[in-house]
Symmetry: C2
Subunit: 343 residues, 2 copies
């Protein structure tokens, strides 16, 4: 039996730096009923992603800023509890861009039924399927188009997206160098995930280490941080016709003023580099193939992941801090409430 | 009758800043004879281009650095005086990447016979044909792919390349905004060349002026300078799926240490921008179509240009200074020696 109350996190102000706590209010209100053409979703899992922080700022990004007073937004997975929409039935597992709350009413826009994944339960592998797998897949394959034998560099390489980027690059026969922030993460991506080498940016000289580890230069770079010194090191080592996939800029999301950028952009001309940004939603029309490939690679052991599950919606704000501190161990998921499909 | 001496400019050191004078030596040696498979070219015109300065530096760019003691390099147009090469005949007008000298011996690599151009003499329209036209053509059309109604921004808009970029964008039905460095240049590009608007970056607030002149945002940007503040202004105004053609970075060619880059690269992700570098030689296989289009547009009045001809090879170094000072009035060409075909 469901409770008739809906717990919610609302955004009450624009955060400064990482002080989200003072602008996020946890409360509850009665569950709404779906109108014609709508469904009621019981949210089971909430994905916490670096971009969430950017949405809290006043300016619009690739989506509108979260309005003040509005429920915080995020990628969620849930089950349809009530449907007045012809495309969804009670009991369907669905995912979409929803809200930080127990129950959501939606007209289905931005939501989809879970794909059929070689008998894998969608909600059981959120470390791959919750946006991060498609982000890694399209950002690497569609933007960088890595070729066998090429050298690929990935920042936040032990993160939820970066770890998959490296493994997908390995499926394409590339040499993969990961940049990450601890020796433990370096060991994990090389020994468990098959990266060819790793650099701990907190203890190593990144330009020197990259130069040593990339004797044939860099062909593809997957950027998630926006650190100018690391970008300069990469630009200086890039080969002719290199490709840079611009996925994230986590260094900037908490800042009100952006720092100076990389000095070495001249290389983009000299080496005919392509630097291109993307958002995973740009590739919705190719999502079925993406899920099918990810499921295949998960089945045959080519993709591994770690997931860091935080119990209960009430802990979501605390959990978001660990994402920026880099202390989460794997894809950060909030288990909103019990998932009957996994019981 | 030809003299038997060959005047040459040799690079004797690596210049610091704009002090080329102390590292360029003017001398002469006997004209060499072509061996089997070689031709002797009498150089008539020498094109001075911003990238020339970059080639003087120690590091290789998209081509090897000019060796110390070697003859200075540049795009030249000449006539074949002697041929032991099956592809060239005496009297052919040829162009290629040659040297700052009266006579060159070459095996023909990097050289081509002048294209057939609607009865236009190649050497008579070097303001278009001496690399600058193809650079503008490929950099705008192949990288930016401008669509009718889109807004295009061009830096160094009154320069040899920039002025053609804007005019080619107009042939594609775009709205074109040029950024340049004097009121006279602003007037020329708007009143004579048909740009929709111009900004004098020396007297105007570029971000404010761009925002006012681009009410629908910017779709395409053609970059030749590398000024971080202007790039930031452009990045902040770019529309979703905007394209930036990276053609030149003239601000850096004279510097030993590069300045900090643009802060606003995050826009590349948010707006899915593509920033891509190119070198005109990447498109050699499409050169015939390029020359044909340029000749057509020159014939029908859609392309206009100014050419600033400096008389005699001995004045080439002095002329190069005017390029960086921005005081040349149009495409800078050195008339190496008399051109019999134009007599």
């Amino acid at each position: 039996m469901m409770s008739n109350m809906n717990r919610q996190w609302r955004l009450t102000g624009r955060p400064v730096g990482e002080d989200f706590d003072s602008v996020m209010a946890f409360g509850e209100e009665p569950i709404k009923s779906p109108g014609d053409g709508e469904i009621l979703v019981k949210n089971l899992h909430l994905s916490l992603d670096p971009a969430n922080r950017a949405w809290m700022n006043e300016g619009d990004t690739y989506k509108a800023a979260i309005p003040l007073g509005g429920v915080m937004e995020g990628f969620t997975v849930g089950v349809v509890e009530e449907s007045k929409h012809p495309g969804f039935s009670v009991g369907d597992t669905v995912s979409g861009f929803g809200h930080w709350e127990d129950y959501s009413v939606t007209n289905g826009e931005g939501w989809a039924k879970s794909p059929d994944l070689n008998k894998q339960a969608f909600g059981a592998h959120l470390g791959i399927y919750a946006i991060v797998g498609p982000t890694a897949y399209f950002g690497l394959l569609n933007i960088c188009k890595p070729q066998p034998g090429e050298t690929v560099v990935v920042t936040t390489a032990a993160g939820a997206v970066g770890s998959l980027v490296g493994q997908i690059a390995k499926t394409k026969g590339c040499r993969v160098i990961g940049i990450t922030g601890s020796d433990e993460k370096c060991t994990w991506i090389t020994e468990e995930l098959g990266f060819d080498a790793a650099i701990n940016y907190k203890t190593e000289d990144v330009p020197a280490a990259l130069a040593k580890l990339c004797p044939d230069g860099i062909d593809c770079h997957f950027e998630q941080v926006g650190d100018s010194d690391i970008l300069d090191a990469v630009l200086n080592l890039m080969n002719q016709n290199g490709r840079i996939s611009m996925c994230g800029w986590i260094s900037a999301y908490n800042l009100s003023e952006l720092p100076a950028g990389p000095r070495a952009l001249l290389n983009i001309i000299v080496k005919r580099i392509k630097m291109e940004g993307f958002i995973v939603f740009d590739f919705m029309d190719q999502m079925a193939q993406c899920y099918a490939d990810l499921a295949t690679w998960l089945d045959d052991g080519r993709l591994k992941y770690r997931v860091d599950v935080v119990d209960d919606l009430s802990n979501a704000v605390d959990a978001l801090h660990t994402l920026y501190a880099g202390t989460n161990q794997g894809k950060l998921i909030v288990k909103v409430q019990d998932d009957p499909s996994l019981a």
